[in-house]
Symmetry: C2
Amino acid sequence: YQLLNIPARRVAIFGGTHGNEMSGITLVNLWIKNGKEIQRKGVETKPFITNPRAVEKCTRYVDTDLNRAFTTENLSAPSGDDLPYEVKRAQQINEIFGPKGSPDAYDVIFDLHNTTSNMGCTLILESSKDHFNLQMICPVLLTEHPLLKYSTSRSVAKHPIEVGPQPQGVLRSNIFESMRVCPLTIDGLCCVGLEFPPCSVDVFRVWDKMDYPRDTNGNIIAMVHPNLQDCDWEPLNPGDPMFQMFDGTTVRYEGVGTVYPTFINEAAYYEKQQAFVTTRRETLVAGAIKKA
Amino acid sequence: YQLLNIPARRVAIFGGTHGNEMSGITLVNLWIKNGKEIQRKGVETKPFITNPRAVEKCTRYVDTDLNRAFTTENLSAPSGDDLPYEVKRAQQINEIFGPKGSPDAYDVIFDLHNTTSNMGCTLILESSKDHFNLQMICPVLLTEHPLLKYSTSRSVAKHPIEVGPQPQGVLRSNIFESMRVCPLTIDGLCCVGLEFPPCSVDVFRVWDKMDYPRDTNGNIIAMVHPNLQDCDWEPLNPGDPMFQMFDGTTVRYEGVGTVYPTFINEAAYYEKQQAFVTTRRETLVAGAIKKA
C-alpha cells in the first residue's frame, strides 16, 4: 500500500488564477458566499480567488502569468513594491496554502480553469507518482517532462482541473455544470476507511509543443487545420493535416508515430508560441490508497 | 429607381476595431501585404487596421470601445493628449475615411468583426433605408432603434460584418474562410452596368437588450439557459427558458410575442450589461439599384 494523507484535512479550491476564465471564478465566488456544497465533515475546504485584480479586469493576468509564477526564485525573492503583482500574489498564496513542499502545505488544491480548446473535462497532473490523482475518473494530462516546466498555482499543494471549450470572458452553463461536480471528488478524499485498490490508468504524457508557422517577423502565417481543430485527444498520425497556411496549402504532421494533440488553439497560448501540445498515451499503475 | 453611388469608387476594409477579434485582423494584415484578392478595376480598396494598440495587446480596446466612439461629440472634440486613445483614433479615421456624413466619405466600409455568439455570418445594418446592403445575401441585423445608439467605426462611411462563434484571441479556420469571401461582395459594388431589381428582404430589427439577472452588488447570478445558448436567430416564445440561476432554477421569457435573440453570450457584452439582444423579424423592400 502507498500511504497518503487520506483522509485529507485541508482542501483548497482556487478560481481566477486566470482572470478571464469565468467558470472557476463564478463557482468559487458562489462557494465563498455559501459553502454548503463543498463542506464535508472533518475537512476544511477553502474556496479562494487567487488573482482578484485580473478577475476585476477580466484579463488573464496583470503583470505576468500567475500560473507560471510559483518558481523557487519568485517565492524566495525579497518582497517589495517593485515585484510584479502576480509574484507578490504567489508569495501570499504560498504563505497561506504552502509553503510549497512543506508538511504544512494544504493536502489538495483544486485549481479550476477553462480553455478555448475542445478538451472536455481534464485533470492535469504534474507527477506520475501522484497516485491519489491517478485514481480520478477523467482524462489525465501528465505534464511531467524533463525540460518543460510550468510552476503553477496548484504546485503549492499536491494537485488542476481544466474544462473546455469556453471562450475567455464567457460563462457557459454546460462548462459550469461539469466543473460544479468538483466537490464530489472531495468525497473521495474524506471517506475515512475507504480504500482504493491498485489499478492501471491511461494518461496522456506531454511530449512536445507545436508552434504556428510564422514569418521572419514572428507573425503567424497559418491556422490550425480544420481537420485538427476541436480534435483534442484524437490520434494525429504522420502525414495528417496539421496547419492550413493562409495561402491555402496544407502543412502535415511529420513526427514519428502517433501523438494525441491537446490544448489545440487555446487563446492564451498564442503569446506562448504554442498552437497545441502533443502527448503520448501511456499506462500508469496507480498504487492502492489506504488511509494513513 | 433608387440612385446610389454605384459603382463604388472607394471601399475600405477595417480589421482590429476590436483588438482581440482575430479573423478580421489577420485578413486585413494579409491584404495589406498583398492586396490582389481585394483589388478590382476602377475601385480603390483600402485594407486598414483601426486600433493597432489594442491589436498589439490582443485586447478589445485600450481606453474605451472604439466601436462606440464615433459620436459627433468625440469627432468634434479639440484634439489633445488628454483624449482617450480610441477617441484620438476615431478622429484620425474620420479624417481619412470621412468626414462622417460628407460627400467626401468613402462609399463603403466593411468592418470585420467576430463574436463568441453562434451568429453565423451576419451583416449589421444601421438604417432600413440602406438599399445597397439590403441586397446582400446573409442574415441582416438592423440596429436602427429610437433609443439605442451605437456610434460605430463603419458609421464613418455607409456600411460591418460579424461572424461567429469564435473566442476572443483565437483564429479559427472556418470563421476565417467565411470572412474571406468579403471581397466577393466588392464585385457587386463595381459591376458597372449591373442592375439589381427591387426585392423584399427579411431582417431582424433590434428590439430590446436583456441583461443577466444580478444581485444588489451588480454581480450576475445566472447564466444563459442551455436551451437558449447557441440558438441565435431562433424563435424565443413567452414561457421559454431564458436563464439558469446558479441555484438551478429557470427564468423564463415573459415578453409579449415571439422574439429572435442574437448576440447570445457575447464575451464583450458582460460589461455592457447585456446577455443577449432580442430582435423582431420584419420584411423590408429593397429598392432597385442602378448605376448613378
